[in-house]
């Protein structure tokens, strides 16, 4: 593990460097830029802007759930449009885009020691197609009939029928079109990320020296490239059902007394396609978070990540296993119930590599030198929420336990905790961590701590009690919880409490946005390597890094990414591009 390349044993460059396309004007530098770092900022800004819409939508739905009957404009129709758009935006247009398009673009070339992505032009196109997808999505708010209210899972037949908002209007058409565009755009970016990691690494940067951030984003991208096609065909088929009257997903149906012109299709086929994408999607969001949080913990605890090789293999194992667990979303879907035995087993097996990652994060803290910086605080909060949400996953993955809990608020609480709150806490930690590299300035510390405490505690108070509503049997996706025998008075109070917490947590995000903008000009000067980190992005000659990242000479990598507190070394970190070994033998114990 602690292999350090002697300075005279660095392999020669295999190919000569190619000249990058250099921008000629303001437009090609900042708008139609081929620089991955600019594209990263564009992706991130767009994702956060649309994420803000999703946040507002969550407030609206919490208004309805917390204070039923108070707000007349929130009809059931509107409520279902809110939840659908909230879910889809958060999962696809915010989390996927921000982790892969945002962090992937910024960090991959810098961390592997490349001047840019390998296909910069395609990379630029990726962003513009993504932007188009977002605009098509947003346009559905203004289309006749409004956006689709089919739930983010878009299950047919209801998704394209009259009883669902947007089903026979523009909503579902725009939703499906937007997803198709998103997948096209993502594929262009995704190919870039994969090829750059495989082919664009600098000399000495072996795969087993990559920072875990790159491992996480790389594996997630490979998964996304394999999983999104399933969603793509599902979208195309549903569009055909809706527009041309085919019957891929539509059996014979009597809709409110009228026979529809469909026959012989299979609604459950859509669910298989959707979840063959949808479950890997959970890890497409989680793996980059796993990778990033590993680097945050290691850097801010001044200690090498514990069990690096195991961490890499765990990422790969989780990625592979996540393709054989999809039907755990369908235990009560009416599929052959005997599938339950298989999918419950595979699902619970995934808990083992996932638990190893948790142990290794915590063991990295053990005998560390823990600096309670804001990124570290977010990393600790991530572990709490991820462990909590991961453990409730063991309830839902265990087929028979899922029977009473599925389609209840327990599920909502679980997936928000594990793939909403936990990855977003990592995103925040990562932004506080890398903002100085992107802008050259630190984010404001006081505002940051305020943001951290409200977000962490507030989110926990929202989603932890919510599990118990589900345990009572309160179903999810209910626009009204009135006239329901199981809803006690106190359960309504709990809902009001959750709503109030949601408004407070949402408000804290405004403070964060203010901090992001304010600190661009007024933040403290950061210098090149404020966290004293080892990875290559902190070793650039300029901060923010210029186009081409590394000045005249590409860095040469001599060691892994985690040489913190090496015995015998003067500093408590040795950057990857520093040759020479220090101190006594450092064989693994």
């Amino acid at each position: 593990m602690v292999d350090v390349t002697p300075a005279d044993a660095v392999p020669p460059a295999e190919v000569a460097e190619m000249e990058l396309y250099h921008p000629h004007s303001w437009w090609t530098k900042y708008v139609f830029s081929q620089d991955a770092k600019v594209i990263a900022v564009q992706y991130s800004a767009t994702a956060m802007a649309i994420g803000l819409v999703a946040l507002m939508l969550s407030w609206l739905m919490r208004l309805q759930l917390g204070f039923p009957g108070t707000f007349d404009f929130i009809t059931p129709e509107a409520y279902y449009q809110f939840i659908t758009m909230h879910g889809m935006i958060m999962v696809i247009y915010l989390l996927t885009a921000l982790f892969l398009g945002g962090f992937g673009n910024y960090l991959i070339p810098l961390m592997v020691g490349a001047r840019d992505m390998v296909f910069p032009y395609v990379n630029m196109l990726s962003y513009w197609v993504y932007l188009l997808a977002v605009l098509v999505l947003v346009s559905s708010f203004f289309a006749p009939g409004g956006p689709t209210g089919a739930g983010w899972t878009l299950y047919p037949p209801q998704a394209i029928m009259t009883g669902t908002p947007g089903g026979q209007d523009w909503g579902i058409i725009l939703m499906l079109s937007s997803l198709i565009l998103f997948i096209i755009g993502f594929t262009m970016g995704g190919l870039n990320y994969v090829v750059t990691v495989l082919q664009g690494r600098t000399r000495g940067m072996t795969l087993m020296r990559l920072p875990l951030t790159v491992w996480g984003i790389f594996t997630a991208t490979v998964m996304a490239l394999l999983a999104f096609p399933a969603l793509f065909v599902a979208c195309v088929m549903m569009l055909l059902d809706r527009l041309l009257g085919t019957s891929f997903f539509m059996p014979a149906i009597v809709e409110m007394g009228e026979q529809l012109q469909h026959n012989g299709g299979s609604p459950i086929l859509f669910q298989h396609l959707f979840w063959f994408f949808g479950h890997p999607e959970v890890y497409i969001v989680a793996l980059p978070a796993f990778g990033i949080v590993s680097d945050l913990i290691s850097t801010h605890a001044r200690k090498n990540i514990f069990g690096y090789r195991m961490m890499v293999w765990a990422i790969i194992a989780i990625g592979a296993l996540s393709f054989v667990v999809w039907a755990h979303h369908m235990y009560v879907s009416g599929m052959n119930p005997y599938f339950g035995f298989f999918f419950a087993t595979t699902t619970l097996i995934i808990a083992v590599p996932t638990a190893i990652k948790v142990y290794n994060w915590v063991l990295t803290l053990w005998r560390g030198d823990i600096h309670l910086t804001i990124p570290m605080l977010f990393a600790l909060a991530f572990i709490v929420t991820f462990v909590n949400g991961g453990l409730t996953g063991l309830f839902l993955g265990n087929v028979v336990v899922d029977v009473p809990l599925s389609d209840t608020m327990f599920v909502v609480a679980h997936f928000h905790m594990v793939m909403g709150v936990a990855p977003i806490l990592v995103i925040f930690g990562a932004i506080y961590h890398w903002y100085p590299k992107v802008t050259g300035r630190m984010l404001d510390e006081t505002l940051g701590r305020f943001h951290f405490w409200i977000t962490f505690l507030g989110a926990y108070l929202i989603f932890f009690p919510m599990h118990y509503l589900g345990l009572m049997g309160v179903p999810r996706r209910y626009a009204e919880l009135t006239d329901m025998n199981i809803m006690t008075e106190s359960a309504h109070h709990l809902n009001s409490f959750i709503s109030i917490m949601a408004f407070i947590v949402g408000f804290a995000q405004m403070v964060f946005l203010f901090n992001l903008i304010w600190s661009i000009r007024h933040g403290r000067e950061a210098g090149g390597n404020p966290w004293r980190a080892t990875t290559l992005e902190w070793q650039t000659p300029e901060t923010p890094p210029a186009h081409g990242n590394f000045g005249k000479e590409l860095p040469i990598v001599y060691r892994w990414a985690y040489d913190y507190s090496v015995p015998g070394a003067k500093e408590d970190f040795i950057p990857q591009n520093v040759p020479g070994s220090f101190g006594p033998s450092r064989e693994p114990a």
Partner: protein
């Protein structure tokens, strides 16, 4: 240092919330207390893991927080420790999975003596069908659903003639008798869910799905739809009454069979109540209004 205190409080608070809060599952009314037991096991195992991880983390932050002159240890790996943790985790997971799969095999294997009943869902109401004296449900087909034959029972099938049809009304079940619930939908996905019975299953247009249970106490139970089925989803309530054998038979005696319902109306077609003709337009708003009124 606040974070150490908060981490400890999260563990203590979560455990206290779990033990003391008033929000807990509804009193069970079916044989699926096995499922409740599996949930209890899950709470124990996951609760212990959660507390252990978070408290250990709190200890680490407290003990190894940065102080002037501190330096972290250098320990890239510890194969033994990693192996032990993996084995312990696998053991914990097995302890969850094995009882779970055991109960699942009960769930999917319907006992032979279970009586068939059918639930038919449509936007946004529940109808029911009982097999009648022959104990067999007649075949059905969504393509022949009409105002006169709302459940799409095939008229040519002799098994269907004595089927008891309960359209958009309450279902009664005898206590203590296992039932196999056959689930059907004529429009979109629905899910037949009664919190007190624990069991639930989606209904899929074009397929027949099932689950089984034995009602263990008499009472009136609310049916909820647990799969998003359009705007009327939250209003799609129904009622299942679990009766003593006598009460059940009394109720059954008042129900009409498919043959009775589809016999030519001697009293004249003109006086056929207008509510019996199904709304021919797809008027969602009107449908929702009638639901709200109920």
């Amino acid at each position: 240092m606040a974070i150490v205190l908060v981490l400890v409080l999260i563990v203590v608070g979560s455990v206290l919330f779990h033990l003391l809060s008033p929000w807990w599952w509804t009193p069970i009314a079916s044989n699926w207390d096995y499922i409740d037991n599996t949930i209890t096991i899950s709470f124990w195992i996951t609760g212990i893991v959660f507390a252990a991880v978070v408290l250990f983390m709190a200890y680490c932050v407290f003990r190894f927080r940065h102080r002037e002159g501190n330096r972290a240890a250098y320990q890239p790996e510890n194969r033994r420790l990693e192996s032990w943790l993996m084995i312990a985790t696998a053991a914990g997971v097995t302890a969850l999975l094995v009882p779970g799969l055991f109960v699942w095999s009960r769930f999917v294997n319907v006992p032979g003596e279970a009586a068939d009943i059918e639930v038919v869902a449509q936007q946004w109401q529940w109808s029911f069908r009982l097999p009648g004296k022959d104990g067999k449900l007649g075949t059905s087909d969504t393509r022949i659903v009409s105002a006169e034959n709302p459940l799409g029972i095939v008229p040519g099938d002799p098994n269907g003639q004595d089927d008891v049809v309960v359209e958009a009304a309450d279902l009664h079940l005898p206590v203590g008798k296992p039932v196999k619930v056959l689930l059907r939908s004529i429009d979109v996905l629905h899910d037949f869910y009664i919190p007190e019975f624990r069991a639930k299953m989606d209904m899929i247009p074009g397929s027949v799905t099932y689950f089984w249970f034995t009602p263990t106490r008499t009472g009136t139970f609310q049916v909820l739809c647990a799969e998003l089925c359009g705007q009327g989803h939250p209003l799609m309530h129904g009622v299942v009454m679990v009766d003593t054998e006598q009460d059940y038979l009394a109720w059954l005696g008042q129900q009409q069979t498919f043959a009775q319902l589809s016999a030519p109306q001697q009293t004249g077609a003109a006086t056929q109540p207008s509510e019996k003709t199904m709304a021919s337009s797809l008027d969602v708003a009107a449908k929702l209004e009638t639901l709200e009124a109920r």
